[in-house]
């Protein structure tokens, strides 16, 4: 596994909520500088928790990294507060398009500019409108009332305004029309290439995620069960069956044939 230098290294972390509920049981992930890494997994696998552990938002939900370490640019960050981590350049785009509903689209973006060190707010806005021309049209509309796709663009644009080094994207495709998903993912790839932003992408849409990210991890019930290049993963029989819906059995199949449980077991051992 040859890699360029990692911007983020998660080393075998354990996360507990309320000091008793063990959610992550040893997760290790590496994000190379300027790369895109995808994190796949079913509902409740712990993907969002992983992102929150990195961004520090975990602490607002009474969760805690109890073991292992998260290193960002060589520094341990898992005990820092969320605001400090954001200042260091890690921005999480929370799942579910959390725009500031009562502010306009442009005001939403300006809140992102709050952390900007270099360059003016104006330049930042221009950059965002360059990537998301649609937002320029909607700039003075109340963010709560624009369409879902535009809200997603607002949220990503808002993150872009902070001049982030690493963006944690939590399910950007959720609840959007396929056309829009394509548009947004194209922009995300462009941001990665042109602005040199590293991205850790959480997705349920595995096919899409594997097409965008060259490397991916698969999570199940709080553990990483597989990690490989996207090419290899797309060829993997289990991934095909569980995540891509391309079972080689073909035709109709009953639940009994799938043997979900047994196969998953094999990964965990």
């Amino acid at each position: 596994m040859e890699r360029s230098e990692a911007i983020l290294k998660i080393n075998n972390i354990e996360v507990k909520y309320h000091e008793v509920i063990l959610v992550l049981k040893g997760v290790s992930i590496e994000v190379p500088r300027g790369g895109i890494v995808a994190l796949l997994g079913a509902n409740g696998a712990g993907k969002s928790t992983t992102l929150k552990a990195i961004s520090g938002l975990l602490k607002t939900e009474d969760g805690e990294v109890t073991d292992g370490a998260i290193e960002y640019e060589g520094k341990r960050i898992h005990h820092e507060g969320a605001a400090k981590i954001a200042k260091a350049g890690i921005i999480q785009v929370i799942e579910g398009r959390r725009v500031f509903e009562h502010l306009t689209v442009e005001e939403n973006l300006k809140v992102g500019a709050h952390l900007r060190k270099t360059g003016s707010v104006k330049e930042g806005l221009q950059a965002v409108y360059h990537y998301f021309p649609r937002l320029l049209e909607k700039r003075s509309e109340t963010a709560g009332f624009v369409s879902g796709g535009e809200q997603q663009m607002t949220v990503v644009g808002r993150a872009l305004m902070t001049e982030p080094k690493l963006v944690l994207l939590d399910e950007p495709s959720m609840g959007l029309a396929p056309m829009l998903i394509h548009e947004i993912f194209n922009i995300i790839m462009k941001l990665n290439k042109e602005e040199k932003i590293s991205i850790l992408l959480v997705e349920q849409n595995a096919k899409l995620a594997l097409s965008v990210a060259p490397y991916a991890y698969v999570m199940e019930t709080g553990r990483i069960v597989m990690d490989d290049t996207s090419e290899q993963l797309s060829q993997n029989e289990d991934i095909k069956d569980f995540y891509l819906g391309l079972g080689d059995r073909g035709g109709k199949k009953s639940f009994r044939d799938v043997k979900h449980y047994k196969r998953r077991k094999r990964w965990l051992s």
């Binding site: 961004s55 938002l57 607002t60 507060g81 969320a82 605001a83 954001a86 200042k87 921005i91 999480q92 785009v93 929370i94 959390r98 725009v99 500031f100 509903e101 009562h102 502010l103 005001e107 939403n108 300006k110 809140v111 992102g112 500019a113 709050h114 952390l115 707010v121 109340t142 709560g144 009332f145 879902g148 949220v155 808002r158 993150a159 902070t162």
Partner: protein, 294 residues
């Protein structure tokens, strides 16, 4: 007719001060969802602080500016000492703490300044009315009004156009999302309390300048509750319009209804009006209705 215009101008001008105090209230509610029941005491403290500065020889306007600074410091302290530990606790608990805070501050004020009515001596502004056309206005009211309008504009501009103001609004809207962008909720709360202290304090100074300073200035501060609720609790323009409405309502009812309902109709009217008004507009004038996407 003269009586009408007099009530109108006085109402308008006192309303301006109410608007200022109401703004402080709205800010705290907007940012943290807390109904700050200690607002009356904040107003009172502002009045006494300005008075103290004035008594040691600082001219009135600089004294008000100094009150602003003291307000920032007290606001930060209050937030850090009493409310910081309550972040994340049920909102009702926090509201009860503000009730406690109000008793505490009231006691503290009595301890420091006593309970005698204090008056700015010599009077800052002339009480004798000046005549503009058919209007007779006391300079006290006029200057208080002008000062409160200037401060209102400053606060609103801060809220609407600066990064900090926008961050405060963002935190009000979605705390977690704001935090994910590096906006620290703790700082925003502290800033909200600081601004609330500032606006209430100056409002208190102006009110105290009109009627003299004693515990009743604190009650006037509480009168702002209907103003805030009318405006819609989390709307800044609502606070301003609500404040002026209450000022007008108070003075008109004092002028015209006092003959029929002697004794205190002036004080009750705003609350009665608020109750009726809410029947028809439960969110107030411009309160946030929850935006829900279907």
């Amino acid at each position: 007719m003269e009586l009408f215009f007099m009530s109108l101008t006085t109402g308008l001008m006192v309303g301006g001060i109410y608007a200022l105090v109401a703004l402080g209230w709205v800010l705290i509610y907007k940012c943290s969802g807390v109904l700050n029941l200690a607002m009356g005491e904040l107003t009172l403290i502002g009045a006494y602080v300005t008075y103290t500065f004035h008594a040691i020889g600082v001219p009135f306007v600089p004294a008000v500016l100094l009150t602003l600074i003291v307000g920032i410091i007290l606001g930060f302290l209050t937030e850090r000492i009493f409310l910081d530990k309550l972040i994340g606790e049920p909102i009702l608990a926090v509201i009860m703490v503000t009730v406690g805070l109000s008793f505490f501050l009231k006691g503290l004020i009595g301890y420091i300044w006593g309970s005698d009515t204090r008056v700015f001596t010599p009077p800052i502004f002339d009480i004798k009315p000046i005549t503009v056309g058919i209007l007779k206005i006391s300079p006290v009211y006029l200057w208080s009004f002008i000062l409160s309008i200037v401060l209102l504009i400053v606060f609103v501009a801060f809220f609407k156009y600066t990064r900090w103001g926008l961050s405060m609004q963002a935190t009000a809207d979605d705390e977690t999302a704001a935090l994910s962008l590096g906006v620290s909720a703790r700082f925003v709360y502290a800033a909200a309390w600081a601004i609330a202290f500032m606006s209430a304090g100056v409002g208190g100074a102006l009110l105290g300048n009109i009627n003299g300073i004693n515990i009743s200035v604190g009650h006037l501060g509480l009168l702002v509750l209907p103003a805030v609720v009318l405006g819609g609790l989390n709307s800044v323009p609502g606070a301003i319009v609500g404040g002026i409405m209450i000022g007008l309502l108070q003075n008109f009812s004092g002028t015209y209804l006092d003959a029929y309902f002697p004794g205190g109709v002036k004080e009750i009217m705003p609350f009665a009006f608020m109750a009726v008004f809410l029947l028809f507009k439960p969110y107030g004038l411009w309160g946030w209705e929850r935006i829900e996407r279907v």
